[in-house]
Amino acid sequence: MINWFKRRREEKSSYETNEEWIDALSEPVDEQAVGILRQKLIQGLKPALYKYVDRELDQFVEDVAQDALLKILDNIDSFRGESKLLTWAMKIAVREGLTELRLKRYDDSSLEEFKHPGEGGRDELTAITFASDLPDPEQATHEQLALQKVLKIINEELTEKQKKAMNALMIQGLSITVVAEQMDTNRNALYKLVHDARLKIKNRLEVDGIDPDDLLNRM
């Protein structure tokens, strides 16, 4: 009887519904289904990642698909069926690929300044100077005022970790994936850290009677 069921599974040539995919990718795993899924991941990853890849795209995409497949199979029980299984699987593969690309793009040397701020514990953010190429002296006054206000609040309200994160993410514009790695944390925790920082600044502006939209309009 078991052999009959196995033979029935082997005869399957396509996987359309979520139920069919879940059944095929759950233990005992249907290797034919895994092969089909691998090909679909590769087919999707190429147009998704080509603009980020400066090396052999085909090999990179195959490696990503393989790594993603392991995660997909390990986590198949967590698929809730709110999307098509292929979309869910591709989400995992895309995250796998982009994370690897981001982390490899930035090596340690490019983040030395970030990892080792100036000596004497000087605050990275207060060390920031304003760009000097402002055309209108009157405008410069408003903008300098805005900068001073914001930097004062940042210094008084934020933790050192928050200042470092704000500098890296919002001023240097680094990837949250990379900054999380460098700060030995994860993306979610880092987002929450900066979210809290933004709320602190917003609340302090409110307490000081400063409308951020008004600040923006004056700039």
């Binding site: 999307s83 690929g97 304003f130 500098n167 919002m170 949250i176 979610n188």
Partner: protein, 80 residues
């Protein structure tokens, strides 16, 4: 390090638009396939899942992943 007018404006804008209900990267990722599926089917996920939409506007890495996911799925449906 120079803080340009553009960066300062973006910082103040980000602060201005901050609200306590924002979701983080994990929650966005958890719902991203559902959000993308709706988009692919011509529905309006921005209305059904506003907190995901909000996070995607704020978080560049999550937005890149969303756009890459859309590109991947569109390629599959085109059969190219």
């Amino acid at each position: 390090m120079e803080l340009t007018k553009k960066i300062l404006s973006k910082l103040i804008q980000a602060v201005s638009k901050s609200h306590p209900d924002e979701i983080g990267c994990d929650e966005c990722y958890d719902q991203l396939d559902t959000f993308a599926q709706m988009k692919l089917e011509g529905k309006a996920p921005e209305e059904a899942m506003p907190l995901v939409e909000d996070h995607l506007k704020r978080c560049r890495d999550c937005r890149e992943e969303y756009e890459a996911l859309l590109a991947a799925m569109k390629n599959l449906s085109n059969g190219t």
